[in-house]
């Protein structure tokens, strides 16, 4: 097991450097002068430009800039944005909000997705099953911003059950609607995954044995069918946590949630290179670690799998 973790961590190293280098190159190596952009149309003194250039290491060759950035990351020094705020402060404000949003989304998609998928899997081919399959397809087909605005209009404006927008320092209740919108796509995937997995488990030998032993139907269904069919679902939910945090961009924009997605989007639009590369780097790390944890979780949940 320890051997396996070590090998996986080693494999993550080139992916981490490749992904961050790619983003860094996209942000900093392309034409355009971010320092000149700071001054807009106004003329700036050469001394001021040179000082700023040195402060952001822009006077160095590209690869040195990148290595200095990586060195900063490992010492928790994310630098300052061009507007002068420490990037770490910005991230410490934004990440808790997005983590909370992602957790809300995860709970919603897990509870409803597993419940619907379980019932659909038990009655495969029935009306409930067909309806749920169709709904999941429709949810996958409708882009998230369409779902977002429709939900905002219906629940926030027309029936006014929740606040249409969230604003600063959101409560858990405020995040239910944005969380549901953010989790909608994965909810559809969880339904389909659970349904197929349950349907497969129903015809498995161990389930037939359990029934033949005379166990009650509820016990067979919960302990022998549901528990075993949840393994792929749990692993999907694990990888989804990373995807949700990176994918919250649109949802956070619609509901005005001050999270990572909005921070990143505004940083991209305003040309705040230091913020963009730092946030993306953290998101890449979250994604890679989530994948590792899920792979390990797999072995814990399914004793047949052993890593060497």
């Amino acid at each position: 097991m320890g051997w396996y973790i070590g090998r996986r961590l080693l494999q993550m190293v080139p992916v981490f450097f490749g992904a961050t280098l790619l983003i860094y190159a996209l942000v900093f190596a392309l034409p355009g002068d971010p320092i000149q952009a700071l001054f807009g149309e106004r003329p700036a003194s050469d001394a001021a430009i040179a000082a700023l250039r040195e402060q952001y290491h822009l006077d160095q060759p590209f690869i040195v800039q990148y290595l200095l950035f990586i060195k900063g990351i490992f010492t928790f020094d994310f630098g300052t944005s061009f507007s002068g705020r420490p990037v770490l402060d910005q991230m410490l404000e934004a990440f808790p909000v997005t983590i909370r949003l992602a957790v809300v989304a995860l709970i919603i998609e897990a509870v409803f997705g597993i419940a619907f998928g379980f019932i659909a899997g038990l009655r495969r081919g029935g009306i409930f099953d067909s309806t749920v399959l169709l709904i999941s397809l429709v949810v996958i087909g409708i882009p998230v911003f369409v779902i977002g605005y429709t939900a905002q209009y219906l629940f926030g404006v027309k029936w006014a059950v929740v606040n249409p927008t969230v604003g600063g320092d959101p409560s858990w209740f405020d995040l239910i609607l944005p969380g549901a919108v953010l989790g909608a796509l994965s909810f559809a995937y969880v339904i389909r995954l659970t349904r197929n997995s349950v349907a497969e488990a129903l015809s498995a030998d161990h389930v037939r044995t359990a029934t033949a032993k005379g166990l009650s139907r509820p016990r067979v269904m919960t302990v022998h069918v549901l528990r075993n069919s949840l393994i792929p679902v749990v692993t999907f939910l694990g990888t989804d946590l990373g995807a949700l945090m990176g994918g919250a961009l649109v949802t956070e924009g619609i509901f005005n949630v001050p999270g990572v997605g909005r921070l990143l989007y505004q940083a991209v639009i305003r040309g705040e290179g230091p913020t963009v590369v730092s946030v993306v780097t953290v998101l890449v790390l979250v994604y890679l670690l989530a994948n590792l944890v899920v792979d390990l979780l797999y072995a814990v949940l399914d004793p047949r799998i052993r890593y060497v």
Binding site: Q11, P14, V15, F16, G18, A19, L22, I23, L26, V27, L30, G32, R124, G125, L137, V138, I140, G141, I142, P143, V144, F145, V146, Y149, T150, Q152, Y153, V157, R192, N196, A243, G246, G247, L249, V250, G253, L264, Y265, V268, I269, G271, V276, V280, L283, V284, Y287, L288
Partner: protein, 315 residues
């Protein structure tokens, strides 16, 4: 006695030697129609409504994208500010946008941008990802290791996130840059699928047979492996086409994809947001068109999966 040589599971293929003349064992019904994987698939899907309905919608969509003027008389860029956000009237069945353009005409003309980006991205992704994936799967070794790690790098960056950074850096949104960007972050998915599929085909007996007949490695890959490995790739490509159209709309909605001069559903949805509370219909029509389009490709992909990819069958 032949039974004693049969491996478990193969018993039924072995005819008892004493009673059966050799010709009877070797006899193949030559008059039977030859069925290929594609023929089988076609037979399976052609009567299913889940195949027919999305196919018809996609055909109609392509027609609308090619000849929008057949379907709408109004000019999508013609503004009548006096009628901004006005309701339906004769010749303008869906009313007017905030800028006084005809909603129906814009929905019709918006199909072209979506379909072009979707098709262009899919072609790029299949050509690049398919080639690299097939090479990685077929040759294995260091080539596979390198290509797989490069794919992992792009996988670690979410599609929309990578795309907005790239498009902002390019500073010039057009159908081409949007497609290229989506393809840059989309090819590893097809590469992975192709690699897996090729790996599976590579071990088959007919590949060994082709090798022992003296075919070159490239010829085997091109003529025997790739045609048989295409099934899952086509399935995923169809579904991806839908997601690329959705991604283009999302990028345009964020103001970072197509420029405002292009008529596109994503931009129209974005422009309709400020009047959402008073006139939700202006936002709803392009949303409906977009959703039906994406949904059609997803449904088609789902049905094709049942027919072409026996391992991924949902029922």
């Amino acid at each position: 006695m032949s039974e004693t040589f049969a491996r478990p599971g193969q018993e039924r293929f072995v005819a008892p030697l004493e009673e059966t003349p050799l010709q009877a064992v070797d006899a193949v019904d030559e008059s039977a129609p030859s069925t290929s994987q594609w023929g089988d698939a076609w037979k399976q899907v052609r009567r299913r409504p889940l195949f027919i309905v999305p196919s018809l919608i996609i055909l109609l969509l392509i027609l609308v994208a090619l000849f929008p003027s057949w379907f709408a008389n109004a000019e999508p860029r013609y503004q009548e500010l006096a009628k901004a956000l006005g309701g339906p009237e004769s010749g303008h069945p869906l009313g007017f946008t905030r800028l006084g353009t005809d909603v129906y005409a814009r929905v019709i003309y918006g199909a072209r941008a979506s379909v072009t980006v979707g098709l262009l991205t899919t072609v790029l992704v299949v050509v690049v990802g398919g080639t690299l994936g097939a090479l990685a799967g077929y040759f294995g070794g260091w080539l596979d290791a390198v290509l797989s790690r490069v794919g992992d790098i792009f996988f670690a960056l979410p599609l929309i996130l990578g795309a907005i950074v790239m498009l902002q850096a390019l500073q010039a949104g057009s159908v081409w840059t949007v497609s290229l960007t989506l393809a840059l972050f989309g090819w590893p998915q097809i590469a992975r699928i192709t690699r897996g599929s090729v790996l599976q085909i590579r071990g088959n007996e007919f590949v060994t047979a082709a090798k022992s007949l003296g075919l070159s490695r490239i010829a085997i890959l091109w003529r025997h492996v790739i045609p048989n490995a295409l099934g899952p790739v086509i399935v995923v490509a169809t579904i991806s086409l839908g997601t690329y159209i959705a991604a283009e709309a999302t990028l345009s909605y964020l103001g970072i994809g197509l420029p405002p001069s292009v008529v596109s559903w994503g931009l129209d949805i974005s422009n309709a947001v400020p009047s959402l509370r008073t006139d939700p219909w202006v936002l709803l029509w392009p949303s409906i068109a977009l959703s039906i389009t994406v949904l059609s490709f997803l449904m088609l992909g789902d049905v094709l999966r049942d027919a072409l990819d026996p391992k991924g069958r949902t029922r």
